[in-house]
Amino acid sequence: MAALNATQILRRLRRSTPVALILSPIGLLIVSAARLLIIADYNPTTALGLLSSQSYVNALLGTIVPLVPLLMPYAALLFLVTRRVVPGLLALLGTALISPTNRSDAAHVLSAQWHPVLDGGFFWQALLFVMALAFTILLLVELAGVSPASFARSAGVVASIALLPLVVVLYSVPIGNTAYVDLIRQPWMPAEEITLTSNQEFTGYVLSSDGYWLEVLTADDRTIKYYRVSDIRDRQICRPPQKEQGRPLIALTSAQAPVPACPSPQPPPAPEPVPGWMLYRIADMPKACLGVGPICGLARQEEGK
């Protein structure tokens, strides 16, 4: 029996090579590197900055975990189509528990899917009935005469076809969907609304802080900036401005904790027209002149001459 088990294990491992490759460290590294580049707006320097400020485990898990709910429904279908019933059922369960759906009326959608069958003509219904009868008999014979595993594989692959339209309606295809793009672009750290002592407000993701400097990835232009901790007046965790994320089909908690929405990025203010009599705008003055007034600028201009 030991030989039998070893053979079966080897055969199963050989069959699940693509799955093993995706779940292998190399596969995970490739997926996480790709997502890191997306978060960094395809800037390798910013991506390296993100990586250096976070631990490798954080970066790896942080880049992978948000993708799981998005891909879980389609992974479930893929498992079922390829006759891997147990991973398929686990993925379906995971989908119901964690994947956000964009429809709150799943039961209505499910019943609507079968209305055309019930409302179809006699010929259509008779054809479907005959096919259903043949399928049931074949499945029962397979269960009794072949093996329960074979029965489950056949039922799984048929269920994947029947579930495909429903899954597409409940969980948008993660290709060309702006909600998914926003979600994938979002770093795994919580977004924060940061207010400086100069009253400047911006949204960013705090990468690290050593007590003196705060390393922040800005949300709008995805650059890494350093601020003195003493220059920070307020920090508030906020929700990035994106589409409201749906709830899973089976939500274990009744409501999400309210988190204020992050302010939308403001376009930079247009430069004010400079009066002819003003030699320097305050913003253009050397820092040493701040607080002294235009006289300093005038003096500097004189020095330049």
Partner: protein, 176 residues
């Protein structure tokens, strides 16, 4: 399958697919196809796939791409069933006094495996309730080392079992 040739040392017709793998001095003891019940799993998948596709197709809200994918999947299952029928016609289990040959044919090619009869250490027959009714069984050959070969849907299980046991455990009197 289409061409039958007569072996040199027997009057039994041997399929050409099998004949080409037999040595000149080798005499086949038996050659069997699998039981047609081997086609039940692909048939169930194909019928179920068509049923599912036909049932969900009117659900037009998903768009035509989804319907196309659904019908492609159902078509794939149907093609798999057709390939299984082709493989069933051209697949054989051949037993000679020296070896057991498995000829497996698929759309992509043919695979021939062989095990010396002397190396078979154990032979187990599994018969399900449907197998008892329809007359087929699964044969489990165990060889030296962690090598095991399961052949499902073999017809005439009782006769086959006795023939194979006779080869694996020959009568000592025959050697004398």
């Amino acid at each position: 399958m289409s061409r039958l040739r007569m072996p040199v040392n027997t009057m039994e017709p041997i399929p050409y697919t099998v004949y080409r793998y037999l040595l000149p001095h080798e005499r086949q003891v038996l050659t069997v196809r699998r039981h047609p019940a081997a086609l039940i799993p692909p048939a169930a998948s194909a019928v179920g796939g068509l049923l599912a596709a036909a049932a969900v197709t009117p659900f037009g809200a998903s768009g035509t791409t989804v319907e196309t994918v659904v019908w492609l999947l159902a078509g794939g299952l149907l093609a798999q069933f057709a390939a299984a029928i082709y493989g069933w016609f051209d697949g054989y289990v051949v037993v000679t006094r020296q070896r057991i040959i498995f000829v497996t044919t698929t759309i992509l090619g043919r695979r021939v495996e062989q095990f010396p009869v002397e190396q078979a250490k154990e032979l187990e027959v599994k018969r399900s309730s449907a197998g008892r009714l329809a007359g087929y069984a699964s044969f489990v050959f165990e060889f030296d080392g962690p090598v095991q070969r399961v052949i499902e849907f073999l017809p005439y299980p009782d006769q086959l079992y006795l023939e194979l046991q006779g080869l694996i455990f020959p009568d000592p009197a025959d050697d004398e």
